[in-house]
């Protein structure tokens, strides 16, 4: 049986990609952020995951408003990156695990989740930057991935409760999957930020603290918020916390927080890192 090790959750701010390309990790602006990954690296070195389920949102690379999925799951052998239009470096294609992808798809559809199945899927910075942060010296990373894409772009968004339940369904699918693979969850996005409107620059550390605490062992507490309330509390793009909620659902009932980093600001965002071990 495959085993869920735990999760790493991290912001995926595009400017991180530029900092990596320019090797600014020791720069005063960037050091507090990049230093937050030392413990992540040692946890990964110790856990040795085989597969990573990456929960993220697309930023207008693979999906457009002509056909906008609520939930999409990749089922490809390999995932390429591509030009996103504003200078984010592409990386070599990342290996997929189509058999695990399909096992998850079959299980969650039976569980009444209406996913889009993607046998071709371009991954954007919301996948590639976190992979580069976790495996800075290995591109492509030494793992296979299953990309799970959540709509945080066009309302109506899936409710927080639906996202948590979707994660739980993915977790059940992985637990039932008959392989010996060690599976890690990687949730990306957030925390509070807002890029658009007169409220641009909005950040809410108090709400981020509440989210980080709740994500450890009481994620249900976050499901009392409507999407509108999440926008109000975490910003128009802060709703990317939905990706973290899906990821938390995958872990199962109990988790232990091994590491946290929180640093304002990276670009316009409250950056955060959290490592949860499944217990």
């Amino acid at each position: 049986m495959s085993k869920i090790l735990g999760s790493v959750s991290t912001s995926h701010i595009p400017s991180i990609g530029k900092a990596i390309a320019l090797k600014l990790q020791q720069d005063a602006y960037w050091k507090p952020f990049f230093d937050g990954f030392h413990k992540v690296h040692s946890w990964i070195a110790e856990q040795k995951p085989d597969v990573v389920v990456v929960v993220y949102n697309d930023h207008g690379l693979n999906f457009f408003l002509d056909k906008m999925p609520t939930f999409a799951i990749g089922a490809a052998d390999s995932y390429a990156t591509a030009d996103e239009g504003w200078g984010i470096a592409t990386i070599a294609p990342v290996a997929g695990d189509p058999k695990l992808s399909w096992a998850i798809i079959e299980s969650v559809v039976e569980d009444e989740f209406d996913v889009v199945t993607c046998q071709e899927m371009l991954i954007d910075h919301a996948v590639t930057i976190p992979l580069q942060l976790l495996w800075p010296d290995q591109v492509p990373p030494p793992v296979k991935i299953v990309p799970v894409c959540i709509n945080t772009v066009q309302h109506p968004l899936p409710t927080a409760k639906r996202c948590l339940d979707f994660g739980k369904a993915i977790g059940r699918a992985i637990n039932a999957y008959g392989s010996n693979q060690k599976v890690m969850v990687l949730s990306t996005g957030g925390l509070s930020h807002q890029l658009d409107g007169e409220r641009a620059g909005f950040i809410n550390a108090e709400f981020d603290a509440e989210c980080l605490q709740a994500l450890i062992n009481t994620p249900e507490d976050l499901t009392r918020y409507s999407i509108h309330q999440l926008v109000e509390l975490s910003g128009t793009q802060g709703v990317e916390v939905l990706n973290w909620i899906v990821g938390r659902g995958i872990l199962g009932a109990r988790a232990e927080e091994l590491h946290r980093n929180y640093h304002i600001p990276i670009s316009n965002t409250a950056s955060a890192i959290q490592v949860l071990q499944a217990v």
Partner: protein, 126 residues
């Protein structure tokens, strides 16, 4: 369309915006391709016409005015690609929308750093 109390300075991108902004967002989506960015730069008016932008959308693009672009249905995730063409980063855009200088906008973001420790400690003093 579902109505909610409004959040000051905030327009969630919902059905009304999706309908209104479709042509503008579709144009921005095309900017994933380098040849489309070049075609836009070579003849902005022709490119906007090809994507059927309406007059308000064209005016917002001509003015490089992000709040106007949002008012005519632009979505932040797609507009970012247009902003990239204009050489604007997220702090430039934030400054423009909030009526601050870029330095003032950066200082505003920096002011939140005082809360980092509280969050690291588990938000105990929330």
């Amino acid at each position: 369309m579902t109505t909610h109390h409004s959040i000051p300075g905030t327009v969630p991108f919902g059905p009304a915006e999706a309908m209104k902004g479709y042509a503008l967002n579709r144009m921005c989506y095309s900017f994933n391709a380098d040849d489309c960015r070049k075609a836009f730069l070579a003849d902005e008016e022709a490119y906007m016409a090809r994507y059927h932008l309406n007059d308000q959308q064209k005016a917002a693009v001509r003015a490089r005015n992000v709040l106007q672009m949002i008012a005519v249905g632009g979505n932040a995730y797609y507009l970012a690609k247009l902003a990239g063409i204009f050489g604007l980063n997220m702090q430039d855009i934030g400054a423009q929308q909030t009526g601050k200088s870029v330095d003032k906008f950066k200082a505003y973001l920096q002011s939140f750093a005082s809360k980092n420790e509280m969050v690291m400690k588990g938000g105990k003093n929330v």
